[in-house]
C-alpha cells in the first residue's frame, strides 16, 4: 500500500517537473545526416546538389585530361559516366541512412 503511494507520488512529481520543464526530455537520437535536413525540400535540394557535384567533378576531370593528353572526348566520356555514377552513389549514401530508422 505504502509503496503504491510512493509510486503515485513519484509519478505526480515527475509529471509536475515535466510540466514546468525541469526535466530534460529524452530526444530521439537521430543521425546527424538526417538531422541536418529535416524538411523534405531541403533533402531534395541536397540530393540534387550531391548528384550535380559528382557530375561536375567527373566532367571537369575528363575535360582537363583530354586537354592535357590531346585525346579529344575520350576521357570526357569516361569521366562523365564515372562522375554521374559517383553522384548517384552520393545520393544513395544520403538516402540510405534515412531508411534505417
Amino acid at each position: 500500500m505504502g509503496k503504491e503511494k510512493n509510486d503515485s507520488f513519484d509519478a505526480r512529481l515527475q509529471s509536475a517537473e515535466r510540466r514546468y520543464g525541469l526535466v530534460k526530455e529524452e530526444k530521439p537520437q537521430l543521425d546527424a545526416n538526417v538531422e541536418a535536413d529535416r524538411s523534405l525540400a531541403a533533402l531534395a535540394f541536397r540530393a540534387g546538389t550531391e548528384m550535380l557535384a559528382g557530375l561536375v567533378v567527373g566532367v571537369a576531370m575528363g575535360w582537363e585530361l583530354d586537354h592535357w593528353l590531346h585525346t579529344r572526348a575520350v576521357f570526357l566520356v569516361i569521366f562523365a559516366l564515372l562522375g554521374g555514377s559517383a553522384g548517384m552513389l552520393n545520393v544513395w549514401r544520403l538516402v540510405r541512412t534515412m531508411d534505417v530508422k
Binding site: 535540394f45 541536397r46 552513389l89
Partner: protein
C-alpha cells in the same frame, strides 16, 4: 537595380571597387569589405558579450555563451571527444557564414556567400583539412576506404574511380549548396521587387496590386533569415561529419 522595364536580377552580384582610389589600386571590391565587416561583427559580439565575464550572465553574455555551447556541443556530439580540437575551426566557419548571410540581407549590402569562389574556397579548406587529418590519424589505411568492403576484385577498376570521384565531389556539393541557396534567395527578392516597379507604372490599379509582391518580399525575408542560419548550420554539421569520418579508425 536598373531602371526601366528591363531589370537585371544578377546585377546585384557584380563586384565593384570600393573605397575610392585606394580600393581601385588594390582591386578591393565589396566582397572582402563585407567579409571584414562580418569578422568584425562576430569579434565585437564575442568581445563585448564576454567582457563582463559575470557569473550570472547578462543578456549579451548569455547569447554569446549559448552560441559557444551550441557549436561546442555540435562538434563534440558529432565528431566525438576529438571534436573539441576542431571546435575553433567550426565555430569560425559557422559564424563567418552566418554573419555573411545576415549582413547580405540588409538593404544596399552585398552577400559574399553568394559567390562560388568564396564558398568553394571555404569548402576546399574543409576538404584539405579532412584529408590531412585522415592521413595523420589513419595513415595509409585511409586509401583502403576507396575500395568498398566485400566487393569483387574484378570490379575494382570501376569502383575505385567512382569512390574517388565521390570523395572529390564533397567540396563541390558543399560549396554549391550554400552558393545556390544564397543566389536563389537574392534573385527572388529582386524579381518580386521588380514586380512592384512594373505594377507601379500601371497607375492606381497597379499601386493597389503592388501590395502583393511587397507582402511576398516580407515573407521571403523571413524565409531568408531561416535559410541563412540553416545553410550555415548545414555547412558546419557536414564539416563535422567529414571530420568524424577522418578521425574514425
Amino acid at each position: 537595380m536598373a531602371g526601366g522595364s528591363s531589370i537585371n536580377v544578377l546585377e546585384q552580384f557584380e563586384l565593384h571597387p570600393v573605397l575610392g582610389g585606394l580600393g581601385e589600386a588594390l582591386r578591393f571590391s565589396q566582397s572582402p569589405l563585407y567579409m571584414i565587416a562580418a569578422v568584425c561583427l562576430v569579434l565585437a559580439f564575442l568581445y563585448f558579450g564576454m567582457r563582463p565575464a559575470a557569473v550570472v550572465p547578462g543578456r549579451l553574455q548569455a547569447a554569446a555563451e549559448v552560441c559557444y555551447e551550441f557549436i561546442h556541443n555540435m562538434a563534440v556530439d558529432t565528431i566525438g571527444p576529438e571534436g573539441a580540437a576542431f571546435f575553433p575551426f567550426i565555430f569560425t566557419l559557422f559564424f563567418f557564414i552566418l554573419a555573411g548571410n545576415y549582413i547580405g540581407l540588409l538593404p544596399f549590402s552585398f552577400t559574399f556567400t553568394s559567390h562560388i569562389a568564396v564558398t568553394f574556397a571555404m569548402a576546399f579548406m574543409v576538404f584539405l583539412l579532412t584529408v590531412v587529418v585522415s592521413l595523420k590519424v589513419q595513415g595509409l589505411r585511409f586509401f583502403a576506404h576507396f575500395m568498398p568492403d566485400g566487393a569483387s576484385p574484378f570490379l575494382a577498376p570501376l569502383l575505385i574511380p567512382i569512390e574517388i570521384l565521390s570523395f572529390l565531389s564533397r567540396p563541390v556539393s558543399l560549396s554549391i549548396r550554400l552558393f545556390a541557396n544564397m543566389v536563389a534567395g537574392h534573385v527572388m527578392f529582386d524579381i518580386f521587387a521588380s514586380f512592384v516597379i512594373m505594377l507601379a507604372s500601371f497607375g492606381v490599379v497597379g499601386d493597389v496590386f503592388a501590395i502583393g509582391p511587397i507582402a511576398i518580399n516580407v515573407a521571403l525575408m523571413a524565409l531568408e533569415l531561416l535559410v541563412g542560419v540553416l545553410q550555415a548550420y548545414v555547412f558546419a554539421i557536414l564539416t563535422c561529419i567529414y571530420l568524424r569520418e577522418a578521425v574514425a579508425h
